[in-house]
């Protein structure tokens, strides 16, 4: 596809990069609202409101005017998620979003993924080698009760909706849900799970 056609496709995709890939010379607000500022005709006030809304969603409202260098690794990932979802894409791609983070911070990122999937109806493709985070996203769901959002264990039907694809040497070596992955007898899968 030509670059022009790819740009049209990218309008429907949001991507979270491994290290966040925030623009160093812009503030958090300018990063999150970048696509809205640069590529849309949305009024500046509306852009600001949307930026504040998504930063509130990822619980970083107080960092709105900071520079990326002033944020921790986990905060940068959450700002990257906010930037990816600011223009409401139907699909989000997460490229090793929790790699290099401590377990508590990684869980925070996983919860943001669940909130986007279940509350904003965003289809998510999560690339990770952290099985712990993959199983967490597959076996939990976000539920909104008024102004409160809770992360709870998902029922079996919900768990079935999360599909695992495992790659080895460029080929698909496994496809299935979380339960099937745990029950797999493939030596490579068993090695990975252990």
């Amino acid at each position: 596809m030509s670059e022009v056609d790819l740009m049209k496709v990218r309008n429907h995709l949001g991507m979270v990069f491994q290290e966040g890939a925030l623009f160093d010379s812009l503030t958090v607000a300018e990063n999150v609202g970048y696509k809205l500022y640069e590529e849309t005709d949305m009024p500046l006030d509306d852009v600001r409101r949307r930026v504040e809304e998504v930063l509130g969603f990822v619980r970083l409202s107080e960092h709105i005017d900071k520079m990326p260098s002033e944020l921790s690794g986990g905060q940068r990932r959450r700002v990257a998620i906010a930037r990816a979802m600011a223009f409401k894409p139907p699909t989000l791609l997460y490229d090793e979003a929790t790699t290099g983070l401590d377990p508590i911070t990684a869980t925070t990122i996983d919860e943001e993924v669940l909130k986007l999937r279940d509350l904003e109806n965003v289809s998510s493709i999560v690339v990770t080698h952290q099985l712990r985070d993959a199983f967490f996203v597959a076996t939990h769901e976000a539920v909104q009760d008024g102004n409160n959002i809770e992360i709870t264990a998902a029922d079996a039907k919900k768990c079935d909706e999360a599909e695992f694809i495992m790659l080895k040497d460029g080929l698909i070596t496994f496809e299935g849900n979380a339960a099937e992955l745990r029950a797999s007898t493939d030596p490579y899968v068993r090695t990975f799970l252990s």
């Binding site: 670059e3 740009m7 290290e19 590529e39």
Partner: protein
């Protein structure tokens, strides 16, 4: 930006990195390099003045006079036109190498070195071709103007005369028969004219008469110059 995936992030957000990053830099390099060249030329001339005056003990007025005498207008024009091309080349090479960086922070260092080396060589090469082109263009314009212009007027008289004639009188004396006339000239040359030493009163007479050979035999060099005109025939 490449090694931290910011370029990919730009693409993912629907922004063309060339439009957003490269074009402003190329325009800035294209338009600002001549300005920087003028500034650096000025600083260079001032630096030369400092060294000439304080280290080489050259008179300040001599330095500035030499600059104006040595500098040709076409050199100044070439010095203004070339930076447009060189600025474009330097920035374009930097952007091209930068967008193809790979290998993390080591790759950034390698790309920086490559860009500087490539730009330096390109400046030398482009300078050669641009100079040839501009010289050819100047020669072409000069020959066409000479071919088309009327015969050049000869300017022999300086703006400021070397000699001021204080008193000129023409006396016609007749002593029974016409023996010609006498011309008395009292001349004073300008004290600070650069050719003062070579312009004596006998020379003045030659200038008045418009020739040198014939009057030289008849002119004298005294405080009060005098000569006799050839006898009329």
């Amino acid at each position: 930006m490449v090694v931290t995936d910011q370029i990919n992030a730009l693409r993912a957000l629907g922004t063309d990195p060339v439009r957003k990053l490269v074009v402003p830099r190329v325009l800035a390099g294209f338009f600002m390099t001549p300005v920087l060249t003028v500034i650096s030329d000025t600083v260079g001339i001032l630096g030369g003045w400092l060294i000439a005056v304080y280290q080489l003990r050259v008179a300040s007025s001599l330095y500035w006079t030499s600059i104006t005498e040595a500098l040709y207008l076409q050199d100044a024009w070439m010095g203004i036109i070339k930076p447009f091309f060189l600025g474009y080349v330097i920035v374009t090479i930097g952007c091209h190498v930068g967008l193809r960086t790979s290998g993390g922070t080591q790759g950034v260092g390698r790309s920086t070195t490559s860009a500087v080396v490539a730009a330096s060589v390109a400046v030398i090469a482009v300078d050669f071709f641009i100079t040839r082109l501009l010289v050819y263009a100047v020669v072409l314009m000069a020959t066409s103007s000479i071919r088309d212009a009327p015969a050049l007027e000869r300017r022999s008289a300086p703006e400021r005369p070397a000699v001021v004639f204080d008193k000129v009188s023409l006396a016609v004396r007749r002593q029974g028969r016409a023996e010609g006339s006498e011309l008395y000239v009292a001349a004073r040359s300008h004290e600070d004219h650069p050719r003062r030493q070579r312009l004596g009163k006998s020379t003045i007479l030659k200038l008045i008469l418009g020739s040198g050979g014939r009057t030289a035999a008849k002119s004298g060099c005294t405080d009060r110059a005098s000569t006799t005109c050839p006898k009329s025939t």
